[in-house]
Symmetry: C2
Subunit: 198 residues, 2 copies
């Protein structure tokens, strides 16, 4: 089971920017088209884990398109909040994708329970599915500590409150090239490439 | 990513009979030891799908043992019961594993809702996980029709009420060699071997 260089991959997303990003993360060796460009519907993300949701999306896109499909799911988990927001990371930001609101919610929840535990981690799950065939899943994880208030305007999502282990700056402050080399997403893609590309 | 012939695999089960069965399904090319023989604890099966539970068990066994691990999860789904018993197939039989009881329960549920729809399917999910690395998942599925009362004492579980498409006998009546060649489990292992073995 291999991803043959030059082949076309369907990215289980309707966001063309994400497809370009995946092309770059796979070193330009694949043509990545979005499920949206093939008019495939988006499935509900009904699973309980990052990997489950990535697999559901990749399976759906592969079986409907008849082509090899790739999907991801990612988010931030807070130890003191029993892993929340986790798979609900995007939903905490609401329909307006207001991550300022979502980061305040994390801070408020920690204050409510009176916990000093600031441990958190980012997870990126990737799934590659063959039509009606096997699927490969990998996860990348970066551990770190939360800090409030948010710092830095690089990155996105919860990046400004997360200081990865071994660093002093948040993901919102770090140099993008450095962040891209140590991120959960980078780790997940490195595992995927080791597993499926010669 | 390949399963190299001669390597040892950890089967995420405490049942030595299951390990022997997996050895046979992999044509004797691997030494299969149980998670039980390595004193690994059994994780709770908390996922919502067959594949999710197989993956959870394989991941757990691989990460704890440091060796490549294989897990399966399987069951019967009834169309008119919205897929029940599904991942709860074994649990419907209770602690005594009384599948006579479980099959009566299926029949009673169908009578309660007054449905004539007798479509059902068996699913077998397999997962192979590398320690802290990737995992491969496959599913095999066989569609068929339910019949009551149960017929045949070959097979196990819900086999005596399930007639696979293209056959006139239940899985409980069919010649074991024939059943083993068309079963959901056979399909899943065929997919797994095509994916991971040269």
């Amino acid at each position: 089971m291999r991803l043959i260089k030059g082949m076309r991959l369907v990215a289980a997303t309707h966001n063309p920017g994400k497809a370009r990003e995946i092309e770059a993360l796979l070193d330009g060796h694949y043509e990545v088209v979005t499920a949206g460009s093939l008019n495939l519907p988006e499935p509900d993300e009904t699973e309980a884990t990052f990997t489950g949701n990535a697999l559901l999306k990749a399976r759906h896109a592969a079986d409907l398109s008849g082509e090899v499909a790739l999907a991801d799911d990612s988010g931030m988990s807070v130890a003191a909040l029993d892993g929340a927001p986790g798979i609900f990371s995007a939903r905490w930001a609401g329909p307006d994708k207001d991550f300022g609101f979502a980061m305040r919610k994390v801070e408020e929840r920690l204050e409510e329970i009176g916990s000093d535990d600031r441990r958190a981690w980012f997870t990126s799950a990737l799934a590659v599915a063959w039509p009606n065939g096997p699927a490969v899943v990998v996860e990348g994880r970066v551990d770190g500590l939360l800090t409030f208030p948010p710092r830095g305007d690089r990155g996105f999502g919860y990046d400004p409150i997360f200081i990865p282990d071994g660093q002093t700056q948040t993901f919102g402050e770090l140099d993008p090239a450095l962040k891209d080399s140590i991120s959960h997403r980078a780790l997940a893609f490195a595992k995927l490439k080791a597993a499926l590309i010669d």
